[in-house]
């Protein structure tokens, strides 16, 4: 489902951060075109 897709990964500090989302999606064959981690506090 994600293979060949371009993925935007928006993580969160107290949830799952951007780099972890990016790592997982690359495993699924997606190209991560942007990843960020938000911090709400």
């Amino acid at each position: 489902m994600f293979e060949g897709k371009k993925v935007i990964a928006i993580g969160e500090r107290d949830g799952v951060p951007g780099p972890v989302i990016a790592e997982c999606l690359e495993q699924l064959g997606a190209e991560v075109v942007f990843q960020a981690t938000e911090c709400f506090v």
Partner: protein, 461 residues
């Protein structure tokens, strides 16, 4: 071993500085009508003082007492609450302005002579005439300072072309200096320690003091020490985003244990930039703007006296650079590994103090209940390590966690607001061991994608 002898906490009510917080400042610039809406949702000092989380912060209520306060907390003020706290107290805005001026050695802040004349304690402060203030605001890029609808002063830039010395940056720095000094004074008053007995000061505040050639150059610690009369101390700053207070306490304990210095004050001043950070959520829900206080805290670290709780330097939890940013990896590094080193389990810790942001501030803007999420992570870790069953998570959290109660001032909520309560509970024999945990969002500065965190254990002797 080094011990924590005392902890002091203050809150300075700053409703008319909320407009200079980063978020309100940007939002009001785009939509000036928001300024009036913001002003109509500000609280009087008495309401901020009686606000249950604030009463917990200054030590008059235990954190767990918040379980018994009905929500919304802002609608249930603590009866007969005053500004005095067991650990420090709350200051009204005029006292904060006076302190800002007292912290200013370069005549950058001008308070109206006539306003000062009517102010209790204002007589010793040299004011500016009203026309001087008006001129600075009109022609010198000074920021006006208000007390309610009345303009009572201003702060001017220190250099025409220096972006590190604009009025707004200087106001942030003075706010951290003045509130840090209040907290240090409260610490000295509480312990009866002479200012001259302090040997070293570590500041863990979040501002960036410096000029265009050395933005963030720092050493606010020494400036705070000077203001507090600690003439025999020197100091330096510890910078590590919101985790800085934990780093500073560990550094202080190490310096004491290595006999470099014997009496060290760790001090953190408030964060002006974070005032009103979630104000849009509060306005939308018809709530008072709750981020109207600057926090300040100070801790005294000294050699083991056989009575005060010890910082276990043999089990500092650290997040290694190569550990990655997965929450599991962070929590294992900060919580499980240090306990393992001591042959302990997660259930051997009576209270965990992690990210104590007041949820009533964050939930209305969709930012969630930060302490609750962190406690769920610790409980999940206990499940993964087969110390408790999945159904025991809620009991674990209720017993070993606590509701968040700290103002959303970055480094201020970083676990350490509980140090004062932990000292009191340990002295009363109600608690043997507490773990303090803070995380830092290093990626906010764009120098790395890394997360960060540090933890330490505090133990009753």
């Amino acid at each position: 071993m080094a011990v924590v002898k005392a902890a002091a906490y203050i809150l300075a009510h700053a409703p008319d500085l909320v407009r200079y917080g980063s978020k309100p400042w940007r939002e009001i610039a785009q939509n000036p009508a928001l300024g009036e809406r913001l002003r109509s949702h500000l609280r009087p000092f008495e309401a901020a003082a009686a606000y249950p989380p604030n009463q917990v912060f200054v030590g008059n209520l235990r954190p767990d007492a918040l379980h018994e306060v009905p929500e919304p907390w802002y609608a249930h003020p603590v009866p007969e609450a005053g500004p005095h706290g067991r650990f420090g107290g709350l200051l009204p805005q005029p006292a904060l302005y006076r302190a800002l001026k007292r912290a200013d050695q370069f005549d950058l802040i001008g308070l109206d002579t006539r306003w000062l004349a009517d102010l209790p304690g204002g007589e010793g402060v040299r004011g500016w005439p009203a026309d001087r203030i008006a001129q600075a605001v009109a022609a010198e890029q000074a920021l006006p300072l208000y007390d309610g609808p009345q303009q009572v002063g201003c702060i001017r830039p220190a250099h025409e072309q220096d972006e590190s010395l604009t009025a707004q940056v200087l106001l942030e720095n003075f706010a951290a200096k003045a509130t840090g000094a209040f907290a240090l004074e409260a610490l000295l008053a509480q312990t009866g320690l002479e200012p001259a007995a302090v040997e070293y000061i570590l500041s863990c505040s979040e501002e960036a003091v410096g000029d265009r050639y050395n933005r963030g150059g720092g050493n606010l610690a020494k400036a705070i020490g000077e203001l507090t009369g600690c003439g025999r101390a020197t100091g330096s700053d510890v910078k590590a985003f919101c985790a800085a207070p934990i780093y500073a306490l560990v550094h202080a304990a190490a310096l004491v244990e290595a006999r470099v210095f014997q009496r060290i004050a760790v001090v953190g001043g408030g964060s002006l930039a974070k005032l009103g950070m979630k104000f849009l959520g509060h306005l939308d829900r018809g709530m008072p703007v709750l981020e109207d206080v600057l926090g300040g805290m100070a801790f005294l670290v000294a050699p083991d006296d056989g009575q005060a709780p010890r910082i276990r330097l043999d089990a500092v939890g650290k997040h290694d650079i190569a550990a990655g940013s997965a929450p599991q990896a962070i929590m294992e590094a900060l919580v499980a590994r240090p306990l393992e080193q001591l042959g302990m389990k997660l259930c051997d810790v009576g209270k965990y103090a992690a990210e104590l942001h007041n949820p009533e501030v964050t939930v209305p803007s969709g930012s969630g209940n930060v302490p609750r999420t962190n406690y769920r992570m610790i409980a999940a870790l206990a499940v993964l390590r087969r110390e408790i069953g999945p159904r025991d998570m809620e009991d674990f959290i209720r017993a070993r966690g606590m509701p968040g109660y700290a103002p959303t001032q970055g480094h201020i909520p970083a676990g350490v607001p509980f140090v004062g309560h932990a000292l009191a509970m340990m002295a009363a024999g109600e608690l043997d061991r507490a773990m303090f945990i803070a995380k830092g969002s290093l990626f906010l500065g764009r120098m790395t994608q890394l997360s960060d965190g540090l933890s330490f254990l505090l133990e009753r002797p």
